[in-house]
Symmetry: C2
Subunit: 493 residues, 2 copies
């Protein structure tokens, strides 16, 4: 097994080895029961001392990720991650462990989205019952009947022209004035983040991310070998005062931000901060990825205009998710940017997949053409606001003392903090026993993780189980806080 070590890092070699292995175990890259290389072998491979490996393996054992069997070796333990991947990693494939990969950590939160959990608060998606399936099904039928050739053509790499023209109108409503030539259709915002990273980020490039942030974005930047610097957020969003200091000394290339109903905290970046962020990016010639998964889902007032609407020099890559609130089965998003930054992103899209499927693009189109979309979004806002209000009411009523949360003004999540000594990863294990899941907060941090938060997505469960689920969570948490000794519950991460 090969691990890339950075001998100039402030992180100790023990910690680097531990982190690399624990990430692989938690990501399911190393499977249950798999035998790690011997200490001797590992120390030889990595050119580190025997003792360094011993300490790293000790940490793995302390954190319950491996078990040692005297005279046999160190084996990966079950890590309570349900995944369906191949378990067949037995002896004929042992040689594969020596193949180095460029995949330091992968999307943690998918492991918490097991569909086995009937009380699923981990998935930031909309309940299918709130989506206009029947209407869309009918529209798709009419469209394909009229033009079955949609099924047999590839369409332009940049995206279907009709769809891009419709997207242009959507952008215009957000005060982003661009031509259809400046729009790239993506397979959802995840691909948009990935395209930006694969085009502009390489080993050692500095990326700034909010702390906490969307964990899958961290995975992408890590896979590009980026050095990720966290900037904390407060009630107005990313702390631009801290950001500017980092820019002065660290030469960042890219800032990743989610200004509207930030994932996971739900916070909105204030208008002033938006301007400051852009000014900083312009001054230091930094690219901003503005990720906008659900700005249309506001419960009080519309969030401020996108940073992109203020962008005169082409610093901002704006990503808008479109299918989540309409037709998740299609996974469609849009990307807009300017100048050669845009052109280079289109070229990356060619490399990635030669363009999004025409069927999913066309399936989205009828909605964009009609007033139906606005009506649907309006209804959806109302339905989700009712859920949010219910959840907040229940939290107030049932949560034990010392537990805090941020009431979101939009979006799908509530960020809940338990007292600092406790760890939500441990809490999750308790919850999973009761078929309840959430996203443990530690996966959202790129630097030193805070372990006492959790993200609760209230949009996916059906109405009838939402109340049961929240009451159950409060009950489990109350018990957890009353009996679990904090000393043992804290994992070293």
């Amino acid at each position: 097994m090969k691990i890339e070590l950075n001998r100039n890092s402030r992180t100790s070699l023990v910690q680097q080895i531990y982190e690399n292995l624990s990430d692989r175990i938690r990501s399911g890259i190393l499977n249950e029961e798999e035998c790690l290389p011997s200490i001797r072998e590992m120390s030889k491979n990595l050119e580190v001392s025997f003792l360094t490996v011993v300490k790293a393996y000790d940490l793995l054992e302390q954190n319950n990720l491996v078990k040692r069997v005297q005279g046999k070796g160190t084996f990966v333990k079950s890590h309570s991650i349900k995944c369906e991947k191949s378990k067949n990693t037995g002896s004929p494939y042992k040689w594969q462990l020596s193949i180095q990969d460029y995949l330091p950590r992968t999307h943690f939160d998918t492991h918490y989205n097991s569909s086995d959990h009937s009380l699923q608060f981990s998935l930031a998606a909309i309940a299918p019952s709130l989506l206009p399936n029947r209407y869309l099904e009918n529209e798709i039928h009419i469209m394909l009947e009229k033009n079955p050739l949609i099924l047999s053509e590839y369409g332009p790499i940049q995206g279907d022209l009709d769809l891009r023209i419709a997207m242009k109108r959507i952008l215009k409503k957000q005060k982003i004035n661009v031509s259809q030539k400046d729009i790239l259709v993506t397979n959802g915002t995840q691909q948009g983040i990935d395209l930006a990273a694969r085009t502009f980020i390489g080993p050692g490039d500095v990326v700034i991310a909010e702390a906490p942030t969307y964990p899958a974005a961290l995975d992408i930047f890590r896979s590009r070998g980026a050095s990720i610097l966290p900037v904390p957020i407060d009630k107005n969003g990313i702390r631009t005062d801290i950001l500017i200091k980092l820019c002065e000394t660290k030469n960042p290339k890219l800032i990743y931000t989610i200004p509207n109903f930030h994932n996971p905290t739900g916070i909105v970046l204030s208008n002033d901060r938006r301007k400051q962020l852009l000014t900083i990016a312009q001054e230091f010639q930094i690219i901003i990825i503005e990720d906008d998964p659900w700005s249309e889902i506001y419960y009080n007032e519309k969030p401020p205009n996108p940073i992109k609407s203020l962008d005169t020099k082409g610093n901002v890559i704006y990503l808008k998710g479109l299918s989540k609130t309409l037709i998740p089965g299609c996974r469609i998003g849009l990307l807009t940017a300017d100048g050669t930054i845009f052109n280079r992103l289109v070229s990356s899209k060619m490399n990635a997949d030669l363009g999004s499927p025409l069927l999913t693009q066309k399936a989205l189109y009828p909605l964009f053409q009609s007033k139906r979309m606005e009506d649907h979004i309006k209804k959806l806002r109302t339905a989700l606001k009712i859920r949010r209000d219910l959840v907040i009411k229940l939290l107030k009523k049932h949560m034990p003392e010392g537990v805090e949360w941020i009431e979101p003004k939009g979006g799908l999540n509530i960020w809940i903090s338990i007292p600092e000594k406790w760890d939500t990863k441990q809490l999750l294990l308790e919850c999973q026993k009761k078929n309840l899941s959430f996203l443990p907060g530690f996966v959202c941090f790129c630097g030193e993780p805070e372990t006492n938060h959790l993200r609760l997505s209230f949009s996916y469960l059906n109405d009838n189980v939402l109340e049961t689920g929240i009451i159950e969570l409060c009950r489990i948490l109350k018990e957890f806080l009353s009996v679990t000794p904090p000393e043992n519950s804290r994992l070293i991460l």
Copy 2:
């Protein structure tokens, strides 16, 4: 503008700068009329001598890629590439040129697939009239009517379970015995190649590719910073005798091969060579990407079983394109591999896009369930064989002396070679004037490109224009060979 230079390379710095810039111009990353940095600026940025930059710019000018305007600067010339990308790369965005990217060259051949050309021999796709659109449209309607929730769910990252079970059966027919757990659904084989590259290939890793090969695969490996070594092919496929010598000295990590009706030459890798290739990979612990875009389209006999069917140690990542011959608008392919190599690829898929859209996966499913698919493929083979026979007959009749081609036993392409002194890139310019396009062969080479080949795809044009097109191509080529002075036609690449 930043260019990564390798000062230890055998390629001169002049040539490196020239290649980097010409790739950017041809890929449309640098736009028409854009001004290159001044010679002074460039020499300072890249820390090379003034004269080195002068020589590189001279080469660009000689190759008609830039024009110099006395006292104003060096401007990118029109490069006869039709692309719709943003042209707005004017002064506010000038700073973007200093942003380094990781995109050395992008998919050349898409630039030759302009839909403006009525006689399009450049696109290796099937004419929509040969595909079962109406049948599929109806099946999709029935399916969505029964289960409109398909539109509002995400489905597993690894791919829809029903589809993977159907794929398992398809693989079994090819003597690849795997479980549905060992199958990953991709957005076409392009994404499959990309997933393998992003997972296992990084800067300096050695990749072996057939010469010539599929150009978009080269683009992907280049974007990962790979060092790509070409291995020539003969009538039995990749020259394993040369391959083994490279493996002994160059420590390759990955071999990319298209064993069935190889793209672009149409050659089939013999059974013996398949075994040799696998033995070499096993001995040197190398990963094989086995790319199978159209093995079902054979005109005489079925090609030998996939290399994957012989793979006992998990060396082979097998990629099968599925939508090209059935439903291109869905872009669906499958990937199968073993052990942790497979698990790591699934993790990469999470990073890339969180999974393929459920709608496109479900749309493919009805065909797989019925006998209809076999019937369709049978009919398609017959229709394409008639086309191939017609094209070969016309080539024999109308091609000028000195032009040669390989008669393909399957697939969608014919590889044509004109006398060595001539350059098919120049020929393409003549053809484009007559609305005819093909893929110029030089894009298919990773090493020293051969410039006297072209790939003619005979599957996309409708029957009624196929004959006209071939006769027209022969006519233009005859004229081209009779008047163009070879000295000037040869571009330095």
